[in-house]
C-alpha cells in the first residue's frame, strides 16, 4: 500500500508529522505483510504429512496460523500504540486545526 506524501490539492500548509513513515510503521507494515503473504503460499503447506491428532499438515498448519496472525496483530497494535502515546505526550496541545470550513 502506498505511503507517499503529497500535500492535499487545496492546502499547501496542511501537514501532520504522523503522516510520515517512521521506523515503527515500517516494522509494523513488514510484520503485517508477513501475516498476509505467508499464509497464502500454498506450496509451503500442500502436504498430508506430518499429521497432528489425525489432522493432515495442510489443515493443522493453517489453523495454527490463526494464532500467529492474532499474535502479529496484537504486536502491531502494541507497537503503534506505543508510538502514538509517545506522540501525544510530546504534543499535549492539539496541533492547529486549520480545517475550518
Amino acid at each position: 500500500m502506498a505511503h507517499s506524501n503529497p500535500a492535499p490539492a487545496d492546502d499547501g500548509v496542511d501537514a501532520d508529522p504522523r503522516w510520515k513513515l517512521t521506523a515503527t510503521k515500517v516494522v509494523v507494515a513488514g510484520l503485517l505483510l508477513v501475516g498476509i503473504v505467508v499464509p497464502l503460499l500454498v506450496s509451503t503447506y500442500d502436504q498430508i504429512e506430518p499429521r497432528l491428532f489425525g489432522f493432515p499438515f495442510f489443515y493443522w498448519y493453517q489453523l495454527l496460523w490463526v494464532f500467529l496472525a492474532a499474535g502479529i496483530c496484537g504486536l502491531s497494535y502494541f507497537l503503534l500504540k506505543r508510538e502514538s502515546d509517545a506522540y501525544r505526550r510530546h504534543h499535549p496541545i492539539i496541533p492547529a486545526d486549520g480545517a475550518e470550513r
Partner: protein
Amino acid sequence: MSINWVALAVLIVLFAGVTVMGFQAAKWRRPDDLASLHEWGLGGKSFGTITTWFLLGGDLYTAYTFVAVPAAMWATGAVSGFFAVPYTIVLYPIIFFFLGRMWSVAHRHGYVTTADFVQGRYGTRSLSLAVALTGILATMPYIALQLVGIQAVLEVVGLGGESVLAKDLPLLIAFAVLAAYTYSSGLRAPAMIAFVKDILIYIVIAVAVIYLPMKFGGWLGIFDAAQAKMAAPSAANPSVPTGAFIPSPVQHWAYASLALGSAMALFMYPHCVTATLSSKDRSTGRRNAAILPAYSLLLGLLALLGYIAIKAGTVPMGLDGKINPQLVIPQLFEDHFPSWFTGVAFGAIAIGALVPAAIMSIAAANLFTRNIYKAYLKPSANDAQEAKVSKIVSLITKLGALLFVLLLDKQNALNFQLLGGVWILQTLPSIVFGLFTRWFHRWALLAGWAVGMIYGTVIAYGGCTACTTRPFGNSLAVVPGLERAGYIGLTALVVNLVVAVLLTVALRALKVNNGTDITTQFDYFADVGDPRVQAVVREDRPIHP
C-alpha cells in the same frame, strides 16, 4: 420427510425470544431520538471493544460460515471451502492497515459510509455515486446467502413442500420478522441479538466438534473418508475427481486468490464499515483485529463439519427429492443429536443468519440515503426524513436479496458471497488508496472501477471455467497470462488497478483538475478528544454541498 416437532418448537421459542429482544433493543442505552440516521443506523457510534467484537463477529461469521462453507467442503473439498480459513487469517493484517485512518477521518467529518469519504476526499459526486451503487448491489447476494442459510434449516426441520409457495413460505416469514425488527430498532437490534447468537453458536460448535469426531472414530478416519470421497470420480463428470482434498499445484492460485480476494473485499462492504465506524475510539477496530481471530478457529472447525458429514454418510436430501449440499450441516445435526439440541443448533444457525442480514440491509440503506437520496434526490432532507428513507430502502435491499435466492441456483450458495466480492472489490482503490494517498486521479479511479465492474460481471456471468450452471455459476476463471484458474474478483481488481495507474499518469501529466479534497492529514490520525471528534456523533451535517 416428516416435521421434527421438538426441534421446530425449540427453534420457534429461540426465534421468538430474539424477536422480542429485537424490538426491546430500541430502548437500549436510551437514545433520545431514533429518528436520525446516526441513531438508527450507527447506534449513536458508541460501541466499545466488546460490543464491537460481537457486532463484527456477527458480520463476519454468518450463514456463510455455518452453511455455505461446510456445504462446499462436503461437496468438493478444500479449494472451494477451506480457503475460508486463510481468508479469515489474512483478513486481520489487511484491515489493520487502514481501519484506524478510516475511523479517524469518518469521525472528524461525520462520515457514515465509504461513499461519504470518497466524496470528501475527491469532491467528485460521480465517484462517490459509483461507490454507493456498488455497495448496495454487492450487499444483495451476501444477504441472499443468509436467506439460503435460514431456508436450509427450515427445510431440514421439515417445513415447506414441493409447491413453490409452500417451499418458500417459511423463508418469507423469517424474512418478515427480520424486516420488522430492523425497521423499528435499527442497528441496536442486531447488536443486542449478536450476544445471544454468539453464545448459542459457541455452545453448539463446542458440542459438535468434540462429540461428533469421537462418535465417528476420531479425526484420522474423518480425514481419510474425505480424502477417499474427493479422489473418487465425480458423479457429474467421471473423468475428473470429485474435489480436492489438498490443492494440487495448478489449484494453488485459485486457493490463494479466493482467500486474498475475499479478505480484501470484506471491509469494503457497507455493513463492515458500519460496524467499524460505530466503535467508540480509534483503536477499537485494531484491538479487535487482534482478538477476532478467535472466530477464525471456529470457522476452520465448522468447515471440517463438512468432512464429518462425509464420514457420517449424511444425505442432504431436499424436500423435492434432490441432493442439496446446503442442507448437509442441518441434516448432520438432525441425524446425530436429540431433537431439542437439534432445535438449539438450528436456532443458532437461523439467528446467526438473521443478525448479519439485518446489519447488511441497514448499511446498504445508509449508503442509499446519504449518497443517492440526499446527494441527488432531495438535498434538503432533514434527519427524520433520512431515517425514514433508510428504513424503507433496507426493506428494498432485502427484497432484492430475496430475488437472488429465488432466481439464482442455490446449489453453490458460497458463490453468492464471492459474486458480491467481485463487485465490491472494485471500490477498493477509491477507498483504501484514498486513505493513504491523493496520487490517484479521480477520473482514473472511476474508469478503473468501470472496467473492473464490466470485466468481473461479464466473466462471472458466463466466462467461468467448469461452470455447470449459468449465469453466475462459478467464481473461478482462467486468469489471462497466468493460464490458471483464479478468483474473478481479484483478476478484475488487477485490471482495475492497471487502468487506474495508467490513466492517473496520463491525467496528471495533462494537469487535469483532480477535484477538491476537504480532508487534512490531521484528520487521518484524530482520536477521541481532538477538535471536532466526538465519541458519539450527534449532529448530522450534510456532506454534499
